[in-house]
Amino acid sequence: MRPARWATIGLAVVLLAIAFPLYWTIVSSFTPEARLFQAPDLVPRGLVLEHYRALFAQRDFWIPIRNSLVVAGTTTALCVTLGVLCAYALARLRFPGKAPLLALVLAVGMFPQISVVSPLYLLLRELRLINTYPGLVLPYMTFAMPLAVWLLVGVFRQLPPELEEAALVDGASRFRILREVVLPLALPGVAATAMLTFLYCWNEFLFALSFTLGPDRYTVPVAIALFRGRYQVPWGQILAAAVVATAPVALVVFALQRRIVQGLTAGAVKG
């Protein structure tokens, strides 16, 4: 009994540490600006919507949300589509130079982001892609693709190879096997990869700040960072924006979590 009780207490502490900042952010985002810096009160009272109203009425926060959705969504779609093809080849097909290639993919993802900002800026300027959606999607892919490929290779390698061999003997082409046998079974892993890629792009700050020029192309993190005025920091609005920015991500996670947890391969092979 004792170890179980300790585990419960430990779990509660960790959970509290994770959940409290989130709780405090949400409560604060509904607290009037005037009361934000008074002695804190754990139980919320006198909540108002003024920060949210300001966010969407004065600042037009829809624009950064739209920008972030477009950029993160496009990057995720491209990364997962291309990543699935790359990763399947790396996981299953036999060709020379496979191991070095996989190491190279990982190495590409290891560059410190800041080290490539200037060269990428020059490149994007030459291509006239500064302050455009492709100007963010392409740089994001340089980082998100290796991540996606690496994760997906692991996902595909976990599937029992006999299933694909059975499909080969049954007469299916590799592409068909990928579509009809591998992908349905790897769906939890693919969903997890998509989610991680989306999260990465949704929260990305450095590239978005460097490669956009004005509010029409700012993504959510950049927009929030630039709320800060010369003489004051609108904390209420920043916190409200943080809540709004977290919401779609949380929704995506809740929507996919069952798929991710679910073990679809049950019954494929013995046991």
């Binding site: 006999e162 059975a166 003997v169 049954d170 082409s173 079974l185 019954g267 494929a268 013995k270």
Partner: protein, 358 residues
């Protein structure tokens, strides 16, 4: 239906492991050929080479006279039943059965009738809308068989299809497979590590060891005239007794205990050295009065098996002898016993080469 020919096939993996040394094998039209051997002997690799899941390092594979060596599995018109069954877990039984036909663009009504027919033959009708996860081991095994049958392939390849079933179900399914083979008359290659399965199921069996075929023959022939020491020990249960002996003048063999036996039934050349190995099956030894047998021994362990009794004895030389005797035999451990060997059923081997002396 078709015949299969494996010609001088070698398979060496990139890491240098020689899985198949040099194999020639033909499977006749409609024949059930069993590949049998201990685990890691290369029998599954040979099957996968025929299926096209592996490419040989050297040699050719022909199906129905057509060279398929460089063809991918989907162009060979073979069907395979995997040890793990490899059913598609996200598809229903019906979809599993139909998969092979669907990818070959078979018309929908043909698929439906073929699936119904296979399902009826294997008693799968009530399970057609279930998924593999909801089936028992035996049911999964039948779905795997059905998936192979549905396409009417030229060759059936079966990789240890019974090894995941419990003992009773395995025996039933073995009989079921024999019946199925008789009805379909399909050319089949069947891999197993179980010599009993090979004996009972095969029309011919190929005993494989370390990537080489030791003997290909009908099961009874293999049992009666094992071509090598390895086959002699591997086929038959309990395993054959092997005793070292010295060749003496006049084609006499002196065994370790001092007994001499005539080297009967050997007409061919004898080894240059003077050593031979005598093989005698536990069923071909009779227990007699301690002073009257060919060999004297002490009873070690008595195992009653219901229908008969397996007695392990120690010879004077220290070697162990296994004897299968009638269930009524009453012997206590440490009791002395005489052993008479059936002179008609002795096997002689050259211990250096392991080959049978003919």
């Amino acid at each position: 239906m078709a015949h299969v020919a494996v010609e001088s096939v070698r398979k060496v993996y990139p890491n240098g492991h020689v899985a198949i040394g040099q194999v020639d094998l033909t499977v006749a039209d409609g024949e059930l050929m069993v590949l049998v051997g201990p685990s890691g002997c290369g029998k599954s690799t040979l099957l996968r080479l025929i299926a096209g899941l592996e490419t040989p390092t050297a040699g050719r594979i022909l199906i129905d006279g057509r060279d398929v060596t460089s063809l991918p599995p989907q162009d060979r018109d073979v069907a395979m039943v995997f040890q793990s069954y490899a059913l598609y877990p996200h598809l229903t039984v019906r979809e599993n059965l139909a998969f092979g036909l669907r990818v070959r663009r078979t018309p929908r009504d043909v698929i439906a009738t073929q699936v119904e027919r296979a399902a009826a033959a294997l008693g799968l009708d009530p399970l057609l809308d279930r998924k593999p996860g909801q089936l028992s081991g035996g049911q999964r095994q039948r779905v795997a068989l059905g998936r192979a049958m549905v396409r009417n392939p030229k060759v059936f390849l079966l990789d240890e299809p019974l090894s995941n079933l419990d003992a009773r179900l395995r025996m039933e399914t073995r009989a079921e497979l024999a019946r199925l083979h008789r009805r379909l008359g399909a050319t089949s290659v069947y891999v197993t590590h179980d010599q009993e399965e090979a004996m009972t199921l095969g029309e011919r069996m190929a005993v494989i060891r370390d990537g080489r075929i030791e003997q290909v023959a009908q099961p009874l022939e293999v049992y009666r005239r094992p071509a090598s020491l390895f086959v002699a020990e591997f086929v038959g249960a309990p395993p054959m007794n092997l005793l070292p002996g010295e060749l003496e003048a006049g084609r006499q063999v002196r065994l370790a205990g001092g007994t001499t036996l005539p080297l009967e039934g050997v007409r061919g050349g004898l080894p240059a050295h003077s050593r031979v190995t005598l093989g005698v099956r536990p069923q071909d030894v009779t227990l007699v009065h301690p002073l009257k047998g060919d060999l004297a021994a002490l009873v070690d362990v008595v195992e009653h098996r219901g229908s008969d009794v397996l007695i392990r004895l120690r010879l004077e030389s220290g070697a162990e002898m296994r004897v299968v005797a009638a269930a009524t035999t009453a012997l206590q451990p440490e009791a002395p016993a005489g052993l008479r060997l059936d002179r008609e059923r002795l096997h002689w081997f050259d211990p250096e080469t392991g080959q049978r002396l003919e």
